[in-house]
Symmetry: C2
Subunit: 415 residues, 2 copies
């Protein structure tokens, strides 16, 4: 992509009411646009990051047998009444409206109910199970406050997966497989070292649910970390009993601020009983299906990445989620020789299937181009200029020193 | 994909209130699920078709310089008041709700306003233009009736593109390029012969807008077709004057029922004037940006494909949008030899990157498997059974006769 063509240019400004550092950076660098508090549009660079995160999650969910679907935003009142989650007193984030005939409708803030209701069409016998389905859904939540940028919004993209199993044992096996898959996702996006499986409060059915918490000052949660054992305990369940159970001592724990990037939850048969989602077992008896629910906040994850990987100059994307791999800067492009060299490097890299953002602007100074590259945060910066002559300058965004390389070495590096 | 694993099995049933033939077929074949009138979930097979259509559209929009973004569903009242399109008397398809602080919000039924408002951040000078942006957005429209299945819904996926140009001439050039790109899209999805560029009523700014109308009895529109000239006239503008202008005579025109699968529209400077979207021209003067708007109903297109390409047995997908290319049916799989052969064909095709749905069920009869394959409508059916011995049976869904081929010939056919 030629930067001269990209419409979402960098800017020094951001909306006055934007207090979160992730959104400020993403707005300045041209990744997102603020529509209103808690609702952001994703511009070409931002959408590329979202899609890369989604693809990593998709691959890991497919690996454990997940099947991708997409449910609706529109929600039926009668359905949510069955599980007593329609009432605003019970769930305080509903957006609601009405059809022309007066029927109330809601906008999906979660999808356990509609997916489980739908499964009544597809689950009859134990032979139909297990089923694992997931979606990347735009969730709408009427949050009272929305001041955390894309980390907590009124409109955001979430991957939610649901598992339908015959028995508690079968369920537990998939639940554990999901923990592994989630840890792989966070590893792949670059948050492996910073993200911890966290014990949090369960529900009617299990003692614990599990969260995946990433250490960041921008987070809203507090957890107690055991680095060696690679686990954490949410403060809400930090009791002597729980510590004993997990084999940790209070003074081994470190209190840290974190953001929840994923959570997984066992509903057991509870929701199936409410909705009448049963299967006929081998012995002919009818049993409730065991339900699990598994979320990853896709756009939240993007926000956490920005919070964690940035310096005073801008964003520093991990390579796996960067919008482009190489930021190619052409300087002195009014010089026909230099211009041809820069163009040729651009074309060769593109042919090699390397994703390149090519700053080919004629009306921007070297200083502006370097500052923009630092702000945008693409992992590798390559400069072609009069000064680099037959060579190129290669710099890793996260490092301070650049080096001169021959074009051969350059192409070799991106093979 | 193994059909035994796919949760969205075929069924003889569909909801009693479902009167449209596209939705009936798609529900029976396991592509979609009806959440409520006009709102459907897309199951694994259905989502694959949607994504294939999107990818074709994406490629053609990128080819003419489109940049992909995604706007928000949530809409600000003040913005839409500027163009006088907030009032329910003016726009009767709004879903509206309220934030916790009482502020009214709407849910996006169209996005000209927010995208154009956003562009005020990125357009200052003539040097910033042209800009072409598009998105695949889930539109929410509070339709009074929703009886056309996925052809007209309360919630549906639309590709909407917007062009921002300096002059009417520059605008017209892109407008014409979009016509070509749209015709390519409809050609690629298999509707080329059935889809006609149609002259429809313009607005304050131009005499005509253009629609792309596909011939189908399930359509809601009536157009007058000139097959030879490959154009049509919407009945709303069928006057002597228009016919003269287009060089056609009344008795050369054929009245047909059609569904609008795309439309393009010139706003001229109108919306820019309302929103204050101006640019500074070379001579230093401030001018309104010329706006064009270009839609393709993605899920509607899928509905039209089903309406057009089906027989009494089920759907017949054009290859470019089919969820899988090959429907591999294994019969007599209790026979270890046959099973191994079917498995090996499945693995070889997968390795060749051929998309295969493998009916590996042990508890379904040959008759059921054939009926399901016809209902699902994948272009090529391959049967491995005791009877086919060292060969395979290959049948094109759209044709009635099958032929025996050697495995070599089979793999050669899908190279």
């Amino acid at each position: 992509m030629r930067y001269s063509q990209l419409f979402s240019k960098t800017s020094r400004d951001f909306p006055k009411d934007e207090v979160s550092s992730n959104a400020q950076l993403l707005i300045k660098a041209g990744y997102i646009y603020k529509e209103m508090a808690g609702a952001y549009a994703y511009l070409p660079l931002g959408l590329r990051v979202v899609e890369k995160i989604k693809q990593i999650v998709r691959e890991e969910m497919n690996n454990i047998g997940g099947q991708e679907i997409i449910m609706t935003a529109l929600q039926r009142k009668e359905l949510w009444e069955k599980t007593d989650r329609w009432d605003d007193e019970k769930v305080d984030v509903w957006f609601k409206s009405a059809l022309k005939n007066g029927t109330e409708v809601g906008f999906g803030w979660s999808h356990e109910e509609p997916i489980s209701e739908m499964m009544k069409n597809y689950i009859n016998s134990y032979k139909d199970l297990p089923i694992y389905v997931y979606q990347f859904q735009t969730k709408l939540r009427n949050e009272l406050r929305a001041k955390s940028g894309i980390m907590r919004g009124r409109e955001f993209v979430m991957k939610d997966m649901y598992s339908y199993s015959t028995t508690e044992e079968a369920h537990q096996k998939f639940y554990d497989a999901t923990i592994d898959a989630y840890l792989k996702v966070f590893e792949r996006v670059g948050l492996g070292d910073l993200t911890f499986l966290t014990f949090a409060s369960g529900g009617a059915f299990t003692q614990f649910s599990h969260e995946f918490q990433t250490i960041t000052e921008a987070g809203e949660d507090t957890v107690y970390l055991h680095r060696e054992k690679k686990l954490a305990i949410n403060e809400e369940v930090l009791t002597e009993e729980v510590m004993n159970q997990l084999g940790v001592k209070k003074d081994e724990l470190e209190q840290v601020k974190t953001a929840e990037v994923g959570n997984i939850f066992s509903f057991g048969p509870t929701k199936s009983n409410q909705l009448g989602l049963n299967y006929v077992d081998e012995d002919g008896s009818s049993k409730p299906v065991i339900l699990g629910s598994y979320g990853i906040g896709i756009t939240r994850l993007m926000g956490v990445l920005v919070e964690r990987f940035a310096d005073e100059k801008g964003i520093i994307w991990p390579e796996a989620v960067a919008p482009y791999k190489v930021h190619l800067i052409g300087l002195n492009l009014e010089d026909e020789n230099v211009k041809q060299k820069a163009e040729s490097v651009y074309q060769v890299l593109k042919k090699m299937n390397v994703e390149v953002l090519f700053d080919d602007r004629l009306d921007a100074s070297a200083g502006e181009k370097f500052a923009d590259a630092d702000l945008i945060g693409i992992p590798y910066r390559v400069v072609i200029s009069k000064r680099t002559a037959e060579k190129a300058e290669l710099k890793v965004r996260a490092e301070s020193k650049s080096k001169e390389v021959s074009l051969e070495e350059l192409f070799e590096a991106f093979k």
